[in-house]
Symmetry: C2
Subunit: 307 residues, 2 copies
């Protein structure tokens, strides 16, 4: 009975089918099937039963899964404790980033870590918020960037902790030649404009619609584009206005003006990590570095505004 087998069993229990578990863990279905077969052979207890063309856990299998979760987190807790007394920041950390976060936070994070902890390797992957949280829980990802919108609070799951990095306030972005010239404006002032927004299925796009509705109008979304640099270009070209979070505005292109919203709404940028690995020196280093990066960013923005 190996750790690997328990991991696979747990994943099958979670996903429901072997193919899904295989995909989630990055194996072929055959590998999962063989490992679980080996588990059944070594213990002499049937763990799966075929039902139709699917597979289902037996009572014994469910009982094993119940313990497997604790076991896997205990294992990681053990490793964390060990690394903690060793105290060295090294090894490799798997990070997942979310689109708009990548440019603004990831790059300075990597720069800072390269200086402070040269023995720490960071590998990154791009994932949506929900898959990222699943990957964190499964152990594929160590640290995930996530977003929390007021209208779509992030799902919580057992064994995963979060820390908030910053409150990312949305601003109204208009073309240079827009009639609105004040430093701030109410959303109602642009109720009849055409909007450029990320796709509504994403939480970012959803946030825009929710904000407009609570301001009393349904936005006319003329263009659905998922990355903020392009959105800003479209605004500059006069295709419409956009509601863009601060992180999308660190280097605004020419031709646009940023206008504060009078009753602003925001999202919180968070990182998620397993509670069992929260105190790993490497994870602590990433977290600390990120907080420092965010501090720099806020200071920089403050300084820029002052100038």
């Amino acid at each position: 009975m190996s750790i690997q087998q328990l991991r696979m069993l747990r994943e099958v229990a979670l996903r429901g089918t072997i193919v899904a578990a295989a995909q989630s863990l990055g194996y072929t279905p055959s590998a999962i099937s063989q490992q679980l077969g080996g588990l059944e052979r070594s213990t002499g207890v049937a763990v799966l039963e075929r039902v139709g063309r699917n597979v289902r856990l037996t009572d014994a299998g469910r009982e094993l899964v119940r313990h497997a979760g604790d076991l896997l987190t205990s294992l990681e807790a053990a490793r964390t404790a060990m690394e903690q007394v060793a105290g060295e920041v090294k090894g490799t950390i798997e990070v997942s980033v979310y689109e708009s976060v990548a440019v603004t936070l990831l790059v300075p994070l990597l720069e800072r870590l390269a200086v402070d902890h040269p023995d720490l390797r960071i590998r990154t992957r791009q994932l949506e918020v929900e898959p990222a949280l699943e990957a964190v829980a499964a152990g594929t990802i160590d640290v995930a960037f996530t977003l929390d919108y007021a209208h779509a609070p992030m799902s919580q799951r057992a064994g995963v902790s979060c820390t908030s990095l910053l409150e990312d306030v949305f601003c109204l972005v208009v073309p240079d030649d827009d009639p609105i010239t004040s430093a701030s404006a109410s959303l109602e002032a642009v109720a009849d404009r055409r909007f450029i927004s990320p796709s509504l299925s994403s939480s970012c796009g959803g946030g825009v619609v929710v904000a407009c509705r609570s301001a009393g109008f349904e936005p006319d979304i003329a263009h659905q584009i998922d990355d903020y640099p392009t959105i800003l270009r479209l605004v500059a070209a006069g295709a419409g206005v956009a509601l863009v979070p601060g992180l999308g505005l660190v280097t605004p292109p020419r031709g646009v003006r940023v206008v504060a919203i009078e009753r602003p709404f925001s999202r919180t940028i968070q990182i998620a990590y397993r509670t069992a690995s929260a105190e790993r020196p490497a994870v602590v280093a990433v977290r600390d570095a990120l907080v420092a990066v965010v501090d720099d960013l806020v200071d920089g923005r403050g300084a820029a505004l002052a100038a």
Copy 2:
């Protein structure tokens, strides 16, 4: 970081040296060294440090060992729980027997189990009491027969449970033509005889000496022999008298008489097993079968005495 690596690390921590751990787990030292090397490589944390020609755990290693114990028992608890809901008695159980127990209890145990649970395989090994307890704790042995003498109480260890099977009373065994003809006698009556006894280093031989001393004399041990059938033969041949536990007397040879001791002393026959596996159906089956065997044995002896 695998279970195997944790097991090996724990054994090294327990035994102090790599060779000892290797011997205890049935591997070569090289295997242990390589596995622990792999552990250090995969975690990036040094677990061992060379000191002289030995090796010592680092702080990180000790921390890991602290968790490893819990992890391994959790793993077994998981397996136990799973098998328990499955409810089937199958698989293989490793049993260790102690010399005198083997004939009397092991054979009827195997016979009974073969009938009641044909899918259960029993493998046996002969081990002294202390090594057996260690093997139980280490997981090499599932069920160990052990003896508990009043003068040498069995060492207790964490995670290992015991159940007493029977109180095994010592009797005096004399040749047929011995002057003692009564059904019972005091130890003092044989103070000046020559004794045949198991070696004093064993707890059985020690028990004999302690009993004689508390009766006020130092026994003259003329022959040190470690198995009871031979001892009985020697008694029959007139080489001396012996103090023999009941289990050594189920089939006494010709030429000897069994005499009860007036202030009898005894040992308790126990079985030891890991607490985490106490409720495994297979372990439960062995335990239950043994209790039944002992019941039969006592009944049979009672019946024999009555006849």
